[in-house]
């Protein structure tokens, strides 16, 4: 399964009772990335940039890629529990974690349950909290291509976005989307993409340095949710990027990497 010509490798490891498909690449201290409701998009510009300073671990969530399904997982909190168990077994120690959108919700749940598991927490356009103003975009009423268009302020103007999403999806992309979408449905159908109790649990993060990154024009999860996260997590830092929608790591990749690196190194 490992490929030698790419800057990353893939492995299938035993973790907390199932086979877990993990993408790994880079040099340096481990950095955990939790993908979102569209699946792992491939090795992007921001991955390559971060990989110069960190070893990236990108697990494909149960049910995605070649990771086994978990029949007993019925909601996000169940998945978070399983992932903490899996992290124990993977032996990465106290890792920094970055989660975007659905992956951000997952990261927040895991961190609230077990703050000492993580060195740093980065939430990017995270789901999980009901926005005080506006609503989280209903991803299930539109086809994937339209969801992606809504996610990005201007697909055409960002080269990497054009490359990824500018033409018909590849079979691999379709497979990644469909399985991640099924997981997203399982975790976020009702209440839609949030847990009413999550904000109350985030007080536990007062000792875990947390960075919240949001695109000002995010049309999927409104900025008010980012502000709510910021309110709920004592000592957290909120960075809002202009001319940016739901995917800062693609739309403003360089600025995103700069902000994240500065935070991780501090």
């Amino acid at each position: 399964m490992a490929t030698t010509s790419e800057p990353w490798t893939e492995e299938l490891v035993e973790a907390a009772g199932i086979k877990l498909h993990i993408i790994k690449g880079g040099t340096g201290q481990p950095l955990l990335l939790l993908h979102d409701e569209m699946g792992h998009p491939g090795w992007l510009h921001y991955h390559a940039a971060l990989a110069q300073h960190y070893t990236l671990y990108i697990p494909l969530h149960p049910g995605c890629g070649q990771s086994d399904h978990l029949d007993w997982v019925m909601n996000m909190r169940d998945l978070a529990f399983w992932y903490l168990d899996a992290l124990d077994e993977l032996g990465l120690g106290q890792v920094p974690v970055i989660g975007g959108s659905l992956g951000g919700w997952l990261a927040a749940e895991m961190a609230a349950m077990c703050p000492q598991q993580f060195k740093r927490l980065v939430l990017v356009g995270a789901m999980g909290v009901r926005p005080p103003v506006g609503e989280i975009f209903d991803m299930f009423l539109v086809v994937s291509r339209e969801y992606l268009r809504a996610s990005l302020t201007d697909l055409a103007s960002v080269a990497e976005a054009q490359q990824l999403y500018g033409s018909d999806p590849t079979p691999e992309q379709t497979e990644a989307w469909e399985s991640a979408r099924e997981l997203a449905s399982l975790l976020g159908w009702r209440p839609y993409m949030h847990d009413p109790s999550l904000p109350h649990t985030l007080r536990r993060l007062r000792k875990l340095p947390t960075l919240i990154v949001w695109g000002r024009q995010d049309a999927i999860v409104p900025l008010s949710a980012g502000e709510a996260y910021h309110q709920a997590i004592p000592g957290s830092r909120l960075v809002v990027l202009d001319r940016c929608g739901h995917r800062p790591e693609i739309e403003q990749a360089d600025e995103f990497v700069r902000v994240v690196r500065e935070f991780l190194q501090n």
């Binding site: 299930f140 009423l141 086809v143 469909e178 099924e182 449905s185 399982l186 159908w189």
Partner: protein, 421 residues
């Protein structure tokens, strides 16, 4: 044979502009809904069903859809309850209650038991999984659609047949006290029939459960294949299936003259958009058709290959004339429609048929003319065809065993002592 009547009970008006135009599924706000129009339409459709009972239909078929003008019956059990009281002899065939959108299937079990009793045992309780439209309308999790269907099905049968109180702590449904003061009249419980539109998974599940399968207006070729798949699955299960296990719904309208019949037949295509009415489907939202996890991805692939490249949607977007040519729509005088009905019966051999009529833009008068002629001429003639072709309904031959239940179907009669007669 069993001969039934069906209509979607479509919205009809001349202010919303919905009739004869193509609308996108789930895009019409109920802000345009006029309850005065609704009240008249509900009562009209009930009058038509009551008349159908009176003139000799064996069965009245009801369905359910939500949030959409093409079907006003958002709650099939309301319609069934009224018919339970207001009709006398026809079976009341619900095709079907949408199990996965029920968060409380015990309530459903109670409603159906009441309907069965009030109708003195005329209920046929069909169950369906529903499509994306229903999952969205009632926020039922699509990824658990199949599991909720199967667990609710098992639970309802238990609630109908096992004396309470008992507990049920399943994966999706949880009860500590199941003890409804309502039990169905029919024993062990009302018959369960399963409607489908060529889902391979559903056909096999239905055959394994020995429930009659009703195919809903699918093209004749795929219908025949689906029936064969059912019979093959039944053979694997080790029981003898037959015409009593399969049923077919399709558009049949009868009228006094060919001109009236054609005018009415064309009205199938000029009502509000209906994704199930070829030529008038409207625009379907593909995201809602493919909610994540609703249909397993293997099942979808099997359906596409097993039933031809266009699948069920091979029937869509076709002109009236084409649909007449391939028997999708049969509309004419009794003289011209009877041979066509016979062709369908000979080709796919269903033990029960449902004539889908009074839909689209058809008026009350259009429907009443058809119902009258059905009662006077068509139903008796189709019954004769059924006898000749040996097409038996599940009330004549037991679908679970293949054993005849009535004399006409060959059930042995008890010996009589001629001295006492």
């Amino acid at each position: 044979m069993l001969i039934g009547h069906f209509t979607e009970q479509p919205w009809q008006d001349n202010t919303t502009g919905l009739m004869g135009t193509q609308s996108l599924d789930l895009s019409i706000s109920n802000g345009v809904y006029d309850p005065k129009v609704g009240a008249k339409l509900y009562n009209r459709y009930l009058d038509e069903k009551i008349y159908a009972d009176q003139i000799g239909f064996d069965a009245l078929m009801l369905n359910e859809h939500h949030s959409t003008p093409f079907c006003m019956q958002g709650v099939t059990n309301v319609g069934a309850s009224i018919l339970a009281r207001e009709t006398k002899q026809a079976k009341i065939i619900i095709l079907g209650n949408i199990l996965p959108i029920w968060d409380d299937p015990l309530w459903l079990a109670e409603q159906l038991a009441m309907i069965d009793m009030i109708s003195y045992g005329r209920l046929v309780s069909g169950f369906v999984r529903g499509g994306g439209r229903e999952s969205v309308s009632h926020n039922a999790p699509p990824h658990f659609n199949r599991e909720r269907f199967e667990e609710a099905h098992d639970f309802i049968i238990k609630a109908w047949t096992t004396p309470g109180p008992f507990r049920w702590e399943g994966k999706h449904y949880h009860y500590r006290y199941v003890n409804p003061w309502a039990r169905p009249l029919q024993q062990p419980h009302p018959p369960i029939w399963i409607p489908s539109t060529v889902s391979v998974e559903t056909v096999k599940w239905t055959a394994r459960h020995r429930y009659p399968l009703v195919l809903l207006a699918t093209k004749l070729g795929p219908t025949k294949e689906a029936f064969q798949l059912y019979h093959d699955t039944a053979a694997e299960e080790g029981y003898e299936s037959g015409t009593q296990n399969v049923a077919y719904l399709w558009k049949v309208h009868v009228d006094e003259t060919e001109e009236l019949a054609e005018a009415a037949g064309r009205k199938y295509l000029s009502g509000v958009s209906n994704p199930f009415l070829a030529g008038n489907e409207g625009a379907v939202n593909p995201a809602i058709m493919n909610l994540p996890g609703h249909t397993s991805r293997t099942s979808r692939k099997l359906a596409a290959t097993a039933f031809g490249p266009a699948g069920r949607f091979g029937t869509n977007r076709r002109p009236y004339e084409d649909q007449v040519n391939d028997y999708t729509i049969i509309s004419g005088t009794p003289k011209t429609i009877l041979p066509k009905i016979r062709h369908v019966l000979e080709y796919i051999r269903p033990g029960s048929v449902f004539f889908w009529d009074g839909d689209g833009a058809m008026t009350h008068e259009d429907q009443m003319r058809s119902l009258r002629l059905m009662g006077e001429e068509v139903i008796p003639a189709v019954r004769e065809m059924g006898k000749e072709l040996e097409l038996f309904s599940p009330f004549e031959v037991d679908p679970a065993t293949g054993k005849p239940l009535t004399a006409a179907a060959g059930a042995p009669q008890p010996a009589t002592d001629s001295a006492t007669t």
